[in-house]
């Protein structure tokens, strides 16, 4: 049993409002401005201050610009000191602080680093404060026996990245980097709307705002958050991310494909399904009763051994997630577990725990779904974009590790130090941040006040089960790729299969395939989710589930946003190898952006890639000590059946197969393969995507 007594109720959002004084900063981070003496420390900047609520200046909007770093800091200091709490948004915090040295300059004006900061691979935020006042407390003693003191600050300034709010349209990205009015319009629109909805205190990131919006819909004592690390670790084992893979690598089938996806999958599940709200207890595995699933107020997460011929349930093998066939041990949340029991795939239950279920996310899920679907005339565009971000981020937040921050020590330094600081024996992330010799250490050590990974595990499982119904259903031979809440189908193949089943239209005397009716039927199968056609593509090349290049859609995971194709399979994008200065001894300052080449040289499939490009799921077995292992290729059922392995495999297969001499390519087939068997060769003349192509989605 898990330890009891370390739990609390998730609190509904309290009061509060958005910031009253907000500044917006753009800086020419390229430093490539004619007539500017960069060597003398000049940088062109523009600053806007909006007094949204202020005892004297409400409604005033002040603009200034210049090319002197000290002048910028003096202006920020002056405006920030007119308020108790001011916020400053930059388009790219790291680049802007690097170019302007604003934080260092503010320190010279008496500002100090606080323990509130955050970093991510792409952005950072930090709170500085000024005007320290220490007062003696009369209501308690300090731990060392003397009088306890309370520190107050006259002014704080939160420096945050506007991109972290996810309110800027992709087309506005470049403009927002150089034009404060573009950035200000989007951020202020969200702030005004937030106040109008009375959603409470403002936060630095979009995910945190979304979380507050969820807590604003929460009743008291609705969700119990446990701090038992063993319990959290168990729940986390049932979190896998979405199901993703490809049925074929290369150019699959005949031209013309459709990208289909579930509309607002996570908030829809949140709105319609019961989800865990509190830990119940451990269940005896000897007499484990699958009929528990029919009680909607109970949800189960269990560690089971599965034996299956369908690649349908996730499992971790050597730290990576696979959807294997064969026999394996895995931890499954409610919907997946029910699916596995119904398929007769569960051969043993090792450990099971039950959870109380409720609709604590239902109101929020409906609300976010409505925001995303509302017309622009009703809900401002930045709000709709933010809501879309919240729809993904809030449920993920249930599994996000908590961070704790403590003062730390380091050598004296001028300016910033941001350093990832691995600790021996600690597997979680630790970051050190320092400004002018004041250091803090922040670690993701699982002490969050929001962690209930079971919620994410159930939502993921709900979506995964519905996606699996489509991938493994009657139309499986038309499905070529799937990723979390969407899939790509070959339209000719899907049409042929659908018309055989009566999905036929007759327009102007021409018989055709009624995709609308088919999608309605699929939506019924996947209730409460509804599936829609998102993109039509003429030609496509699949390298893996997250590496798709077509004439209208390009997904290349790992390649930076905005990268440009310079030759087939090779992209050039901008990277910032380092977020911050590595240490006080590092003379290079903040990591400068540089360009790098990214070569797409898959396959990136999670299964075996055969000589004809089709993909077979990996096969697993359980060792006597209960660990999963992947079978080497020669021991798989595919090898025994005579399948020929392709010359290239994904990295996961290293050591499980031996490369073979490349064979001459088979002649390309013009005709569609006959549906019904997935192992038939599927090739066509889909062309290589050439020319300069900009990445829109990664």
């Amino acid at each position: 049993m898990f330890a009891a007594g370390s739990a609390h109720y998730l609190k509904p959002s309290g009061g509060g409002t958005t910031p009253g004084t907000v500044m917006f900063l753009t800086a020419d981070v390229s430093q490539d401005v004619a007539g500017l003496d960069v060597s003398a420390g000049a940088v062109r900047w523009a600053l806007r201050c909006v007094y949204r609520r202020h005892r004297r200046y409400t409604g005033q909007v002040l603009d200034t610009c210049g090319d002197d770093r000290a002048a910028l800091a003096a202006q920020v200091d002056q405006w920030a000191c007119t308020a108790e709490a001011a916020w400053l948004y930059a388009y790219d915090t790291v680049a802007a602080l690097n170019a302007t040295q604003l934080a260092e300059q503010l320190c010279a004006l008496g500002w100090e680093l606080s323990r509130q900061f955050g970093t991510s691979p792409r952005a950072m935020w930090v709170v500085l404060h000024k005007g320290k006042r220490v007062t003696v407390r009369h209501d308690r003693d300090a731990s060392h026996g003397g009088a306890a003191t309370r520190t107050k600050w006259a002014h704080t300034i939160t420096i945050a990245d506007a991109r972290a709010l996810s309110v800027l349209a992709p087309r506005d990205g470049t403009a927002a980097a150089t034009d404060v009015s573009v950035m200000a319009a989007a951020v202020l629109a969200l702030m005004d709307w937030w106040d109008a909805q009375n959603l409470g205190r403002w936060s630095v990131t979009g995910a945190a705002l979304g979380w507050r919006s969820y807590r604003a819909t929460l009743g008291p004592k609705s969700v119990v958050i446990d701090h038992d690390e063993t319990l959290l670790a168990f729940e986390r084992r049932a979190v896998y991310g979405g199901r993703r893979d490809v049925a074929v690598v290369g150019a699959p089938g005949a031209p013309r494909y459709a990208e289909l996806d579930f509309e607002a999958a996570y908030p829809t599940i949140a709105a319609a399904c019961m989800l865990p709200c509190a830990y119940g207890g451990q269940l005896p595995v000897e007499a484990f009763d699958p009929s528990l699933y029919h009680n909607p107020s109970i949800g189960v997460i269990a560690e089971v051994t599965v034996a299956t011929d369908q690649p349908r349930w996730p499992a971790r093998i050597d730290g990576k997630v696979f959807y294997p066939i064969g026999r394996f041990r895995t931890t499954l949340a409610g919907p997946d577990l029910e699916d596995a029991f119904e398929a007769g795939a569960v051969v043993q239950v090792h450990e099971a725990h039950w959870y109380r279920m409720s609709r604590h996310l239902a109101a929020w899920g409906r609300w976010v779904g409505q925001l995303m679907a509302a017309p622009a005339s009703v809900v401002p565009e930045p709000v709709r974009r933010a809501a879309k971000h919240w729809s993904r981020a809030v449920i993920g937040k249930f599994a996000q590790r908590g961070w704790s921050t403590r003062p730390w020590v380091g050598p004296p330094c001028d300016g910033w130090v941001i350093e990832q600081t691995p600790f021996l024996g600690k597997t979680h992330q630790v970051v050190t941040i320092g400004l002018d010799g004041v250091y803090y250490l922040s670690e993701a050590d699982q002490r969050g006040d929001h962690e209930r990974p079971a919620v994410l595990a159930f939502v993921e499982a709900h979506v995964r089960v519905r996606l699996s119904r489509l991938i493994g259903g009657l139309y499986q031979h038309a499905v070529v790729q799937w990723d979390t809440d969407g899939l790509i189908v070959s339209l000719p193949r899907l049409g042929e299969l659908a018309m055989r089943r009566g999905y036929v239209t007759n327009r102007a005397g021409v018989r055709g395939f009624d995709i609308d009716r088919l999608l309605r039927q699929w939506s019924q199968v996947c209730w409460p989710l509804t599936i829609r056609c998102k993109t039509i593509m003429e030609r496509m090349v699949l390298y893996g589930p997250q590496h798709v290049v077509s004439d209208t859609l390009t997904k290349l995971a790992g390649v930076p946003h905005g990268a440009v194709q310079v030759r087939p399979g090779v992209y050039v994008g901008e990277v910032r190898p380092r977020l911050g200065r590595a240490s006080p001894d590092d003379p290079t300052g903040f990591g400068a952006a540089t360009t790098a080449e990214f070569t797409i040289n898959g396959p990136y499939a999670s299964g075996w890639v055969l000589a004809d490009g089709s993909v077979r799921p990996p096969e697993a077995s359980v060792t006597p000590d209960g660990r999963n292992r992947l079978l080497p290729w020669p021991h798989t059922r595919w090898a025994h059946a005579g399948d020929r392995l392709g010359p290239l495999q994904a990295l996961w297969a290293d050591g499980l197969w031996r490369a073979i001499e490349p064979q001459p390519p088979p002649p390309q087939q013009q005709q569609l393969p006959v549906p019904g068997r997935r192992d038939e060769p599927i090739h066509d003349q889909a062309g290589t995507i050439t020319g300069r192509q900009r990445i829109h989605a990664v």
Binding site: V409, P411, P422, G558, P577, A582, E597
Partner: protein, 182 residues
């Protein structure tokens, strides 16, 4: 660490310079600069640069140099030790920025400043300093320390972007380690 008052007065301005000078070694591994070199250079800098650097006194510099040289010697001792050797006091130096003694006793902690060569995300081979933290207990041998630090840095550099690391790269080598008690 409580520095002597004169050293404490120079610490925030001069530490970087003194630390560099005390740690610089020739290709043969000999220290390049002694106290006389450093004092002379510091005196010259204080006159020519001015500003914060105008605050200079030779006694404070010599006290700082002594602390920095102890750190350099500890690093050299650790670097030349047999991998099977136990980590002893000669291989660990107290950092001038260390916490108060009562905190150190309550929760011992070390910083391993490691000079690392790696290939960064842009494909460039770079050499940088990383700090690896160690709480409560040091690895038992020099070899254990080196392998654990190497493994820890490799994990940090190769972790995927979704795991929140700002750097991605491929570790080439850990070139030196200086162990500081903080």
């Amino acid at each position: 660490m409580d520095l002597p008052p004169r050293a404490a007065g120079l610490y925030s301005t001069w530490w970087s310079f003194v630390s560099y000078a005390a740690n610089a070694v020739s290709a043969a591994g000999d220290f390049l600069y002694n106290l006389i070199d450093v004092s002379s250079a510091a005196s010259s800098i204080s006159k020519s640069v001015g500003g914060d650097y105008a605050n200079y006194n030779p006694i404070g510099i010599s006290q700082l140099f002594s602390v920095a040289r102890n750190i350099a010697k500890a690093g050299a001792a650790l670097g030349s030790a047999n991998p099977n050797a136990q980590i002893d006091q000669s291989m660990v130096a107290e950092a001038p920025w260390s916490r108060p003694l009562v905190d150190q006793l309550a929760m011992p902690s070390w910083q391993a400043r490691s000079q690392v060569t790696y290939v960064n995300e842009a494909g460039q081979r770079v050499s940088e300093y990383f700090t690896v933290g160690i709480d409560l207990v040091l690895p038992s041998t020099v070899g254990d320390l080196q392998s654990q630090i190497s493994s820890s840095l490799d994990g940090m550099l190769t972790a995927g972007p979704t795991e929140g690391t700002p750097r991605r790269g491929q570790l080439v080598s850990v070139d030196s380690i200086t162990l500081l008690s903080v």
